[in-house]
Homo-oligomer: 378 residues x 2
């Protein structure tokens, strides 16, 4: 007997009580009962986004919301800066190019955060309509300095800061209004601990103003239409009803935990994992590790692909490997969502067991011990 354990940075485990809520008999979406759910979710998403603006829920993966950020505010030919420090940075410019934007790619070495000065230099040239960036670049486990970037854009009347917070919202502090973020995108299968299928997006006044004059063609992802519907506690098209029911449940438990505790828990689990990796002699891949996940470098002489495969066969556990530039070089462990202290002990123990079997020399238990010291040490 071996339980299945999921430690990839999304999708993450769904709490049993949320799964059971979603398994209840389906209700129709054009009813008072479902409108009440939408109204509740609307308020709770504002709380999670730390904003007074409406947060729109879409039936799509996070990429759909990323696309909507671009197609609702920007036009073909518009000059934008895309911070590309990994797979998801790449996604921003692929979407932007698909819509004919003039993309200035600010290439950042994988594992590094963007230097705000580089962005500032570019912005000084003028003419940019947006800066597109990840809060958490999950392919490298890196946090980009969103607060500093927002300082560069928030006083420019015609330039938006568009943040992909898919693997960050709920795990790290991203106060939308206070920092002056213009657009922030999130997804259900990360810190919200839901199955994938929902995406979220909020727009600042500046972004809504640009939406007014935006000419890019769209229909399903027309955010103005969704906003009007959301004001009536409904959606333009049939919502993913069961996932929205789960969302209400998930937000309820997040509110119970509280924003500060939520961020502190993610920080603690990340710190414990980081210390465990160091105690095992492994380097962290990121120079600016995000609290959503930890990317660790595979020791010299060991094939990273074997680590994830052996985790699967030996422990029935899914973690993530590296992609593209990091392929075979790293493995990635999630902290975001439904994870607690003992989960970190579990995943570190499995990593130790796996590395030992692959011939890596270390004192068994050292990683787990280091994690436990962070979690419960005095």
């Amino acid at each position: 007997m071996q339980k299945y354990r999921l430690f990839a940075p999304g999708p993450v485990p769904v709490p049993e009580e949320v799964s059971l809520q979603m398994a209840r008999p389906i209700i129709h979406h054009r009813t008072k009962a479902f409108e009440a759910v939408v109204a509740q979710v609307k308020e709770d998403l504002k709380w999670l986004y730390q904003t007074q603006k409406d947060v729109i829920t879409l039936a799509s993966s996070g990429t759909g919301a990323m696309e909507s950020a671009i197609t609702n505010t920007l036009n073909a030919g518009d000059k934008v800066i895309v911070v590309d420090g990994g797979k998801f940075g790449e996604r921003w410019w692929k979407i932007a190019q698909a819509y004919g934007l003039e993309v200035d790619i600010l290439k950042v070495e994988w594992g590094n955060p963007v230097d705000p000065k580089e962005v500032e230099k570019k912005l000084a040239q003028g003419g940019y309509k947006a800066v597109l960036v990840q809060a958490s670049e999950s392919s490298t486990g890196t946090y980009h300095p969103i607060e500093e970037l927002a300082k560069l854009t928030r006083n420019r009347e015609d330039c938006l800061l568009i943040v992909d917070a898919i693997s960050a919202l709920g795990a790290v502090n991203l106060p939308f209004d206070a920092w002056g973020i213009d657009i922030m995108v999130a997804g259900s299968q990360k810190a919200l601990a839901l199955p994938p299928g929902l995406a979220f997006i909020a727009l600042s006044d500046k972004a809504w103003k640009m939406a007014e004059s935006c000419k890019t063609k769209k229909f399903y992802f027309d955010l103005k239409r969704e906003k009007k519907n959301l004001e009536q506690n409904t959606t333009a098209f049939t919502p993913a009803i069961t996932l929205v029911i789960g969302l209400a449940e998930s937000l309820k438990s997040m509110k119970k935990e509280g924003l500060e505790n939520l961020f502190a828990r993610h920080a603690r689990l990340a710190k414990a994992t980081q210390e465990a990796m160091k105690a095992l002699g492994l380097k962290l891949y990121s120079k600016s590790p995000v609290n959503s996940l930890t990317a660790a470098c595979v020791p010299e002489g060991i094939d990273g692909g074997k680590v994830t495969k052996l985790m699967e066969s030996k422990f029935n556990m899914t973690i993530a490997g590296g992609q593209d530039a990091a392929k075979g070089k790293i493995f990635r462990i999630a902290h975001l969502g439904y994870f607690d202290d003992l989960d970190i002990v579990t995943v570190v123990a499995a990593i130790e067991g796996t590395l030992a079997e692959l011939g890596y020399k270390f004192e068994m238990g050292q990683g787990v011990g280091a994690a436990m010291k962070v979690l419960w040490g005095k």
Copy 2:
């Protein structure tokens, strides 16, 4: 104590065993286990579509797949015929107009099927790139003659038949290959008896050829990218994992029932409901009733809005009312999906109880009796 009963034409009830499958611990989508699910679903959707072509699954509502049908094959300025006989005909031209197509709206009186001769006359003028139509116009309960329309388009090299089969697939016979349909769109929350959140689309060789030269901008709904991924039993973006797991379960039970039995069941339930309405002295709203749902006219002097409201308060049952042109004039009862004979007896009984309370004079039990004669009479 009063159970909640859902009889609206989508979303429809989800079988308990499907809900429980979806409530199982989530698995990661980049795993052999999930790829096996995608491979199975791919084969079973071909069976349901009656096609050799790949059927693509999207994480969106049905409208997303409708949009993708247009944005992947047609260009701004292309002339298309849209059959508009209800709310969903209207949706076709709204999407088409949003993308700058030149739309020739073939207005059909609500409740009527389109006359293929009208389409033929227009096509004879030449220059049309597509005919867009519903198989089941669920706002009126009407079946449009898809086979006849396909005869008009399938030998034209440069004109597609694009069918919205969202509330039809699995309820009525729509053999994609045999009839020569070019694009067919469906959704999860109808005859597939799943929660909303998935949409489906298949393209003929002719449609894929037009996709090759299509210039319309898109990203999330880029079907060529999805097709390439589907060939590897995966998806371009994070799929709605739990819904896809449910889809596998739902298709399994549909295959067990068999296509002929599936269509025969829907036909029998529709016939029973139609006869029940007639026995109560109610007219059918559609001149070409579809087997997915029945739209009945509210008796003279009774406000249709009161029927649906009283069904809710007296029986805790959701049926659908009329929209726009049919507002207050009709109510609509679903047969599509997870409904059996006794469900029809149940909904007809509730309608009788409701009409009686609203002062309509008839012999109580007459509707139910007529339904039972169709279901079990000799």
